[in-house]
């Protein structure tokens, strides 16, 4: 969408992010360049997932990292690229945090569900529910006082960010991930809550510290190049 088109749509809709929806897309097919970007993005998430698990060396095992710094990356990628970001999160976990650290395909495919559900829900909640209530679905209101001239609700945005992402979705992710690993016999029941806490707080820390840097540093760059998806697919 050009600058002029955007201004036109701004005057019609209440918020500057109203063109980011849960529709399939903007009516244009996915271009080759976009497919390439999505493929490259998935590769980036694989690498970052792998580094997230191995960075702390032998302290991390069973694919669980005490500081899973890829988490905010694939959340932000999902906000930009919809289903492709969600796919990247899943594939990144299966290959980067699973196969490449020696978990085997079955365990990897199973426990990577814990990285699939949160971004899926984030995309639905923010674009479907919160965008029309004054909360930016690209999370720019976490770091900016205004977006395209419209004042943001920073405090509300942060409260929602911590409650929805940091607490609820993170807990779901930990429950799924540690639960599946326990079910498969990779983690003993006696250590369940210890690992759950490690997963939960590791992801929470990564999210709170890294997300604002990503959002502030990159969203504008990506938007200026016309690369943020209007909907799920394109």
């Amino acid at each position: 969408m050009s600058g002029e088109e955007k201004t036109e749509s701004n005057t019609k809709s209440k918020y500057p992010w109203s063109n980011y929806t849960l529709k399939w897309g903007r009516g244009e097919p996915v271009s080759t360049t976009q497919y390439v970007l999505y493929a490259v993005q998935i590769a980036a998430v694989i690498i970052l997932s792998y580094l997230s698990v191995t960075l702390l060396g032998p302290l991390s095992y069973s694919g669980i990292s005490l500081f899973y710094f890829v988490y905010p990356f694939f959340l932000v990628f999902t906000l930009w690229w919809g289903i492709w970001g969600i796919l990247g999160a899943y594939v990144g976990c299966v290959i980067g945090a699973g196969l490449m650290v020696g978990l085997g395909p079955v365990a990897s495919a199973a426990y990577a569900i814990s990285d699939f559900i949160p971004p899926l829900l984030v995309f639905i909640i923010y674009r479907g529910l919160l965008a029309n209530r004054g909360i930016d679905p690209l999370w720019r209101d976490l770091t900016n006082k205004e977006v395209a001239g419209v004042k943001t609700k920073r405090v509300t945005a942060w409260i929602l960010f911590i409650v929805i992402n940091g607490l609820i979705l993170n807990a779901i992710s930990a429950e799924l991930g540690v639960g599946i690993e326990n079910y498969l016999g990779l983690i003993p029941s006696g250590a369940y809550w210890g690992w759950w806490a490690g997963w939960f707080f590791g992801d929470l820390l990564a999210m709170i510290i890294i997300t604002p840097v990503l959002v502030k540093g990159l969203t504008n760059l990506v938007e200026r190049q016309g690369l943020i998806n209007g909907g799920w697919i394109t």
């Binding site: 969408m1 050009s2 600058g3 002029e4 088109e5 955007k6 271009s31 080759t32 360049t33 502030k216 540093g217 504008n220 760059l221 938007e223 200026r224 190049q225 016309g226």
Partner: protein
């Protein structure tokens, strides 16, 4: 009939947010005949790559225009093979029945037109050489036998024939940049194109890689009657192959004609920051001519000198003597380094560099230059032997951590070094890491930006700076850290003449102010003009360490190191064959001074 016709073509990139983009191409008009070799030259940001995209249909198929605003973004027309490639026309909309503007033209230019880009990594799309070559043919739906035979032939043409038997086993990581580029050329050749557009194909390559590409282009010209359009900074290449040259700046044509017609306009070149050859610059500044124009080649220059009865005698120009009391700032003894896969990058390297020197570190790719400089800057840790910087032993892990305080490393690719979204913050990043007090940060940032001419961009987003500006920004970000030693990796790669000069002048000023400079480069002109001492790496060892002048005047050493000296130095070597008493001159400035002095002496 021309193969390509560009008629008053204008193009503006789409803007998605914020301010509209300006026009990148402004009213270009030219034609290219069948079998012609057109060279396109211009400073950075002139629009050369955009023009390549327009000539191959990438604009507007990949870089689209917004609906309803076609005429704002595209004006004029491009015709290819006498068909419209790009044009805006009024057509009847099927749904509404109204007349609307639409971009019309060929849907696809492949396989008749091929495009080779600058970065070899982004063009090697498959995971083995065989499928990379066969990619285009597979997309065309050719038979397996046809694909196989064309692929083999194409590899031979580009000099990669020996890899044919193992082509399906060769992974892209096993190929050098030059080989990847040649593979990309082969993949287009296999499609039997009628036009091949090459956008600075040798920019990111070492001299060996560059030579491979040039030879491939040479072979293609001889074997096929392909129309070639080459964007290239190197005037020697253009002068050797091109039939016609188009010079552009700021999206507009500033010169168009035969190679001779265009390259004779030395003043225009200087004003627009274009590369002309050393010989042309010497001829122009010394007032020598060949057949009514400046000489282009060494032979023409020698004839021009003979024509003026020009003889040079005397001693070599004086090189600045090293103060023997200068402190040793870098000292390396029996330094060795192996990569994880067992490759030995350095084998017992020994040398010292004194404070205040400006040294060129040269050699073919794989010689060990990068590895050596990364060890010195504390970026590679596990080495054998001894390495000291500013008297500190790099074998001590605690010392290595502190080395960035003393050694500033400017990498080749600015994109990998920009961490912030504001120019100010980008410079301040390093200072904050060094825990420089806040009250000192601001003046140091501004001083650094001032010295590179970027003060006016202090609040800009570095991602959207031009190529040359990004390069200067990365230099400034290291400068602000006040290192005693600066290591600069390929400062002039991909830069136009003016930018290269600016960067090198900046480094010279820093050197005069006391900073020790180590320049890693393949640009021998840069070495001859700005460094008095050179360390030549070859297969992980030091082949030569000494005066740049002595190195460039020693043909045996040059052969052994596999290095082609700058044109001015080659001229000197040739000139001395007939005039043994002539001094060893290695750059344009020295030649011009010597020739002008010689002229004065004769007049007197």
């Amino acid at each position: 009939m021309p193969v390509l016709e560009v008629k008053d073509f204008w193009w503006k990139y789409r803007s998605f947010v914020g301010v509209e983009n300006p026009y990148t191409l402004k009213g270009l008009s030219f034609t290219v005949e069948k079998g012609e070799f057109l060279g396109i030259i211009g400073p950075s940001g002139a629009g050369k790559t955009t023009l390549c995209y327009a000539l191959t249909g990438i604009i507007p198929k990949v870089f689209t225009v917004p609906r309803g605003r076609e005429r704002e973004h595209i004006k004029g027309e491009i015709k290819l093979f006498d068909q419209t490639l790009t044009k805006v026309e009024q057509v009847k909309d099927e749904k509404t029945g109204r007349m609307v503007d639409k971009v019309v033209g060929m849907k696809q230019t492949a396989p008749r037109v091929g495009l080779l880009l600058q970065d070899p990594e982004n063009q090697f799309l498959r995971m083995d050489l065989l499928h990379e070559i066969s990619f285009g043919m597979e997309l065309l739906g050719l038979s397996e036998e046809e694909i196989e035979s064309r692929a083999k032939e194409a590899l031979e043409i580009v000099g990669l024939g020996p890899l044919w038997p193992i082509a399906d086993l060769v992974h892209p990581n096993e190929l050098s940049g030059g080989q990847k580029q040649r593979a990309a050329i082969a993949s287009f050749i296999a499609l039997r194109p009628e036009v091949l557009v090459l956008d600075e194909p040798t920019s990111n390559l070492d001299p060996e890689g560059k030579l491979g590409i040039i030879q491939a282009i040479d072979n293609i010209k001889k074997e096929y009657d392909i129309t070639i359009i080459l964007v290239e900074h190197n005037p020697e290449v253009i002068q050797k192959y091109a039939d016609k040259v188009l010079a552009i700046n700021d999206g507009q044509a500033i010169a168009y004609g035969t190679t001779e017609e265009v390259y004779s306009q030395c003043k225009l070149f200087e004003e627009n920051g274009l590369y002309s050859s050393d010989i042309a610059r010497i001829g122009w500044k010394a007032g020598l001519s060949y057949n009514g124009r400046v000489p282009f080649t060494v032979d023409e220059m020698i004839e021009a000198c003979n024509g003026r009865n020009q003889k040079l005698l005397g001693a070599n120009p004086e090189d600045d003597p090293l103060d023997p009391s200068d402190k040793e700032i870098i000292s390396v003894k029996d330094l060795s380094y192996s990569y994880e896969d067992g490759t030995q990058a350095l084998k017992g390297v020994t040398f010292t560099i004194r404070q205040g020197e400006c040294v060129g570190l040269i050699g073919q790719n794989g010689a060990g230059k990068s590895t050596l400089s990364k060890i010195i800057s504390g970026l590679y840790k596990k080495f054998q032997g001894e390495a000291k910087v500013n008297g500190l032993d790099l074998r001590d892990r605690k010392v290595i951590q502190k080395i960035p305080c003393y050694v500033g490393y400017v990498f080749q690719n600015p994109d990998n070094q920009i961490f912030m979204r504001k120019v100010y913050d980008e410079i301040a990043y390093g200072l904050k890491n060094l825990k420089v007090p806040q009250q000192e940060v601001d003046p140091r940032v501004k001083e650094a930006l001032k010295s590179v001419g970027l003060l006016s961009k202090i609040d800009e987003d570095p991602m959207f700076l031009g190529k040359g500006e990004k390069r200067r920004l990365t230099v400034a970000s290291i400068l602000a850290m006040n290192p005693k030693i600066m290591i600069v990796d390929e400062p002039t790669t991909g830069q136009d003449f003016r930018m290269s000069e600016d960067i090198m002048c900046l480094l010279e000023e820093l050197n005069k102010a006391g900073t020790t400079i180590l320049v890693i480069t393949h640009d021998m002109t840069l070495v001859s003009e700005h460094t008095k001492r050179v360390i030549v790496m070859h297969n992980g060892t030091v082949l030569y360490d000494g005066s740049t002048r002595c190195f460039f005047s020693n043909e045996e050493l040059l052969d052994e190191a596999d290095i082609i000296p700058p044109m001015a130095a080659r001229f000197s070597l040739e000139y001395k064959k007939k005039n043994p008493l002539a001094p060893d001159l290695m750059n344009v400035k020295e030649w011009v001074t010597a020739l002008n002095q010689g002229k004065q002496t004769e007049s007197a």
